[in-house]
Amino acid sequence: MDSALIPEGVKRTSFPKFFLGMAVVGAVVLWGLIAVVLIWWKGLNQTNMNDYYGFALWIWADLAVIAVGGGAFFTGLLKYIFKVDELKNIINFAVIIGVICYSSALFILAIDVGQPLRSWFIFWHANVHSMLTEVAFCLSCYFAVLVIEFIPNVLENRQLNKVSFFHHLAHNMHGVMAVFAATGAFLSFFHQGSLGGVAGVMYGRPFAFREGLLIWPWTFFLFTWSAAAFGPCFTLLVTKITEAVTGKKLVSDKTVHLLAKISGWMITTYIIAKIIDTIYWATVTVPASGFTFSHFFSNNAFYGYWILFAEIVLCGVVPGLLLIYKPTRENSNLRLLAIILGVIGVCLNRWVMVLQVMAVPVMSFDTWALYIPSWQEVATTILPVAYGIMFIALAYRYLPVFPQEKELNYPAQPVVEGE
């Protein structure tokens, strides 16, 4: 039915089956969209956020998708700037994940603000001292970069590529991609960092506040670093899932091992920095404002030391070590465990830096504020996941995403022309 659109030389599932799958995921998207309409029409009272919890599930989701979407910029940086050529086998997919993550992030911001029609004020009336301004600018620009990086892949669709202009455009864009990638890396460095800065500069919130370098709190660097470290984990995880769903090997082990190794070293170095930061914060920053370390992890029903342990040790140190040690890295089960832990770890970090910050009482007579999201929040947070699945399914079906797909799956077969 849609065979004319399917890349040459590969097999895809039957259209009815594909359509059915899309319909199921589409239903989830629809559920999310209903929630979106409710939120836009009736306002943010549809959420369970409140004046204590002005930043909640969405902002966590926003930070989390940007963190895991960091695989795109870091892989791009390695591929185009540091010329790690092996990564060409996964760069398309990394970019697609990036596009999904960043479009989701922008979408979440669009529902999260109280007056979406005024969102452009953040650009027009920009306050350059605000970390959020930096986030907004870099995020939108970097999203543009991702789209630019994704366009050639789209144009390589069998039918589109027949259009001469598109063919040339795709070719020429590849030619200057290094420039775009460099710009993207620059932008990404700043917005990942400024997302960390968002929490770190809040000197009224001792749980979030960090000292730092010039105008940038340490969280600025930790966020960039952690995105670069854990982003590839997510790229590998999604690749693994896609491989499982399609039943095909899509990226060679060599590429996977390389990316896993890079990620492992990034995670390990990051987590060392994070541990140093935590110790310094706990022993110097926190007591200076009259708090004790235990204040942030006790007297409430949810936040305990477990979350600190889970974030730093279980989902930081453990995946880092698993990925830098060759035997465990090259063991597919342990590698999978490591990348799952890694993805959880970075998401936990973003959770802590958003939700726990809001929950901790600061005034001595204040109380912990715990919060349970409404279904509208949950639906709109799941929406990007469903949307991402649809996006990947469409891209995989119609675009030549994985350059190694043919050689890894149909090595003996001659190229068959499908008419």
């Binding site: 306002g43 004046d51 002005g54 109280g114 986030v135 500069v201 809040m202 009259g290 809001m358 007579f365």
Partner: protein
């Protein structure tokens, strides 16, 4: 250097917690003055717009040693670290919708500029900022009492205490028409101050030594030797500020004879209060 003729003010207040009775007049005066909306259920205090909120603090002791104090909390109008105007909220607003008035020390909020990202609320440790989660709606006819001097807010934006800035504007206009350079202390008073039946709130210009608030607070303009971020610490040993140690440099001071109340204003590690309370109010000595 500023060559303007305009004198720099630093408006602030001191609230005598021993006089405060928790009667709530300040809260209602504020709501009525500033067109604050209300809704059917206001019992969830985390979703209830009260620019002036009165907290109830207890000393935590068992019956019958229990003591209670009420603490009115308007926006603290932080001057930020070192008093340079980078209050926790102003510095984070991405759209310049909240600003620090260099000539007044007042942290303003531009409702039509705010697009509701709520970063400022996250940054404020005093919960002084409120989001319009709901459409403000008045029962039929009740819009008639709304004041034109304060813009009613729309859903989806953040609002907060403005130290009744419109009253400052009106006072200035009046002074201008009467060809006076300066306004008198009593010409500009916030709605909570004038409403307080106990006279617990004293408002004025902390830069003007003649003003009552300055006489009570005796602010020390030198940085606190223990924490260079802190300026304007009171020299009155009975006066304290909320979360002073964070360096927010609020311009709302509190006064109490009771030690436990003063201690409740900030956080202290084990045993630290004993050293700090003795140090409190003696900072001018270290500056000779």
């Amino acid at each position: 250097m500023k060559q303007e003729n305009k004198k720099e003010h630093k408006f602030g207040m001191v609230i005598d917690l021993d006089k405060c009775t928790g009667c709530g007049s300040c809260m209602v005066s504020c709501m009525a003055e500033n067109n604050v909306p209300f809704k059917e259920d206001e019992s969830n205090k985390k979703d209830s717009i009260t620019w002036m909120r009165v907290y109830k603090l207890t000393n935590g002791k068992d019956f019958p040693e229990t003591e209670v104090v009420y603490m009115p909390r308007p926006c603290q109008h932080c001057s930020g670290k070192g008093g340079h105007g980078h209050s926790p909220c102003v510095s984070v607003c991405p759209a310049t919708a909240t600003d620090y008035g260099k000539d007044t020390g007042i942290v303003s909020q531009i409702y039509t500029r705010c697009f509701g990202c709520r970063y400022c609320m996250g940054a404020c440790p005093y919960h002084a900022r409120y989001f319009n989660w709901w459409d403000p709606k008045w029962p039929e006819g009740m819009e008639n009492y709304l004041s034109p001097n304060v813009s009613p807010r729309m859903r989806g934006v953040v609002e907060k205490c403005s130290f009744c800035y419109h009253r400052y504007q009106l006072a200035r206009e009046k002074a201008y028409l009467e060809e006076r350079e300066e306004i008198e202390e009593m010409e500009y008073q916030t709605a909570c101050t004038t409403a307080c039946p106990a006279g617990a709130i004293v408002f004025g210009d902390l830069n003007n030594p003649e003003h009552e608030v300055t006489k009570i607070v005796k602010p020390d303009d030198h940085p606190d030797p223990r924490n260079p971020d802190v300026v304007g610490k009171s020299r009155n040993p009975k006066v304290f500020r909320l979360l002073e140690r964070l360096g927010t440099n609020t311009k709302v001071y509190y006064l109490s004879e009771r030690e436990w109340v003063r201690k409740a204003g900030d956080n202290y590690t084990e045993g630290e209060w004993e050293t700090i309370k003795n140090h409190h109010g003696k900072t001018q000595i270290s500056h000779g």
